[in-house]
């Protein structure tokens, strides 16, 4: 019902057009380097949009969003490697496992509120990383290497990369629609109320602990698929890559840059950040200072533009709020 209602709004079709452009742009002229850059942009959009469900809607900072990505990657790669599963089912199972786990943990740690929750998400990263380093079926700190045969069912490495790209864009589209659907639903209103004032929300009858655990779990599903795809593509996973602090941080920067709590802003922020990062990585002076630059960017946004890009756009052109959410 909700989906049907959403199709009547222009924003639904704006997302559809954006996703289609994303999917088709590299196909035109078989542009492989554009595909790789857009793949990364799609990954950023996926991670940031899902982080935004917690950060922008419910007002909860999750410093450990990378856990979903890394754990999804691990489960997927493990299923492919040890049980010879194909990509599709392993992605799905990985995502379901990660979502279920986060629902379980979410019910526990989300009893902590505000800053305490943020602190415990730091601990979750440590805990999951320690688990991955000590769990022998996952190869400990050496990680898992996939053989090149895994690409055969997808029609060889060259075609497999295209398949992976299209799935990643689909995941990105799903993330955008998930953000949009949650924002327009009663559930989303409850989350926004929690973000404004949790006590008041609880008094007005929002079941805060369940809502928080649900959104925590919902924000885990698509990043887990993205992680599975990403590590399937690189055919290699190890704890320090899977639970890399940088990516977790970048999602935060992206969400704040575009404007927390908005759907468009986060997507645009992710795209801009990816372009900026591509530029910085190719210039040799800045390659080592990626963390410094994301840190400085985040600090400037937090200090001077807490509304992010969309916050600024909304204040200049209030009408646009009705079209771009």
């Amino acid at each position: 019902m909700l989906l049907l209602r959403l199709t009547r709004r222009p924003f639904f079709w704006i997302i559809a057009v954006a996703v289609a452009v994303f999917a088709l742009a590299p196909v035109y002229g078989n542009n492989v380097s554009l595909r790789e850059s857009l793949l990364l942009a799609a990954l950023y959009i996926t991670l940031a949009s899902n982080l935004n469900l917690m950060l922008g809607y419910a007002g909860y900072i999750n410093f450990g969003s990378i856990v979903f990505f890394g754990l999804g990657g691990y489960i997927c790669v493990w299923l492919v490697n040890s049980y010879n599963w194909t990509l599709g089912p392993s992605l799905l199972v990985a995502a379901i496992c990660v979502s279920a786990l986060s629902l379980f943990f979410g019910l526990g740690i989300l009893r902590l509120r505000g800053a305490f929750f943020a602190l415990s998400t730091i601990g979750i990263v440590e805990a999951v990383q320690a688990f991955a380093e000590n769990f022998t079926p996952w190869g400990g700190s050496a990680g898992i290497y996939l053989s090149s045969d895994i690409f055969t069912p997808l029609g060889g490495p060259a075609r497999a990369l295209w398949v992976i790209y299209f799935v990643m864009v689909a995941v990105m589209g799903a993330s955008l629609y998930l953000s949009y659907a949650i924002r327009s639903s009663k559930f989303g209103l409850g989350l926004l109320a929690i973000g404004q004032n949790e006590d008041a929300a609880a008094i007005l009858g929002v079941p805060t602990p369940i809502y928080k655990a649900l959104v925590y779990s919902a924000s885990a599903f698509l990043p887990a698929i993205a992680g599975g795809l990403y590590f399937f593509k690189s055919a290699f996973i190890q704890p320090s890559d899977a639970f890399d602090l940088t990516l977790s941080t970048e999602s935060l920067v992206v969400a704040m840059l575009g404007g927390q709590g908005t759907v468009t802003g986060v997507a645009i922020g992710a795209y801009l950040y990816e372009e900026l990062r591509g530029y910085l990585l190719t210039s040799s002076t800045f390659a080592n200072f990626q963390l410094v630059i994301s840190g400085a960017l985040l600090l400037l946004i937090v200090l001077f533009f807490p509304g992010g890009l969309m916050g600024w756009v909304y204040s200049r052109f209030p009408r646009i709020k009705k079209v771009l959410e």
Binding site: I61, A118, S120
Partner: protein, 288 residues
Amino acid sequence: MLGILASIIDGVLVGLVYGLAAMGLTLIWGVMDVINLTHGTMIVAGMFGLFLLTAALGLSPYVMLPPVLIGGFFAGMLLYWVAVHRMVGRPPLMSLLSTFSVNLMLIGIGTAVWGTALFNVEVSLPGVSMGRYTFPGAHILAAVLAAVIAGLMYLFLQHTRMGKAVRAVANNREAAELVGIPTTRVLAITVGCGVALACVSGMLIGTLFPFTILSGDGYQLKSFVVTALGGFGNPVGALFAGVALGVLEGAVTPFVPVSWTLVIEFVLFVLVLIAFPGGIFTSRRGAL
């Protein structure tokens, strides 16, 4: 049996240093409701300060205590003006993000300059033996120094004019302002003190264990656990809770692989927060 006793005693010694580190975190937390996520990196800054100064000057590591303390104080003042000043009184989540971003910059610079190699500071002090076990002299001296510095900090807060101003601001910032306390300066000094404590404890930890530029995360998590145990914004509780954590670590170490210690401590953190939101070592009347 004697082995466990020995590792518990060693836990007390190391725990005093953890307590000192957490004191720095909890001081800032209690006074202005800001969680300093650069804490771990400031601990590492103390370690590297120690390493660089001893390597450059060739003096005993313990001579470096005053310069590290003063350096930490000014680093804290700088941190206040850059990242905290505009955040005081805003939702705590914003100050989490701002200190987090400063932390990223520091870590980024650190890894670009030093990489993630392991560093070590040689300390040669005679140990104290008990049966088959010898407690390293460095552990004993670090514990004594930590206790002394913590004691001085306590005296500063309780008996000096500035310390009383800090406590007044912690109690009620507006009221403190009304009776003529320069709150901004007090807040800056508080962050300076908190960071100085983190740096000094980092320096002391540097004399005990080898370290990398990324060691800060683990020690920061320990400080959070200690803070939660000791009660938020309660420096004295932090010292006791630090000892408790050290003892726990000492008792657990013989039975559990090292990489799990942090996980156990983290689980403890969550359990304490859920079961005793006010901390275990909190006194009935106000903390500071």
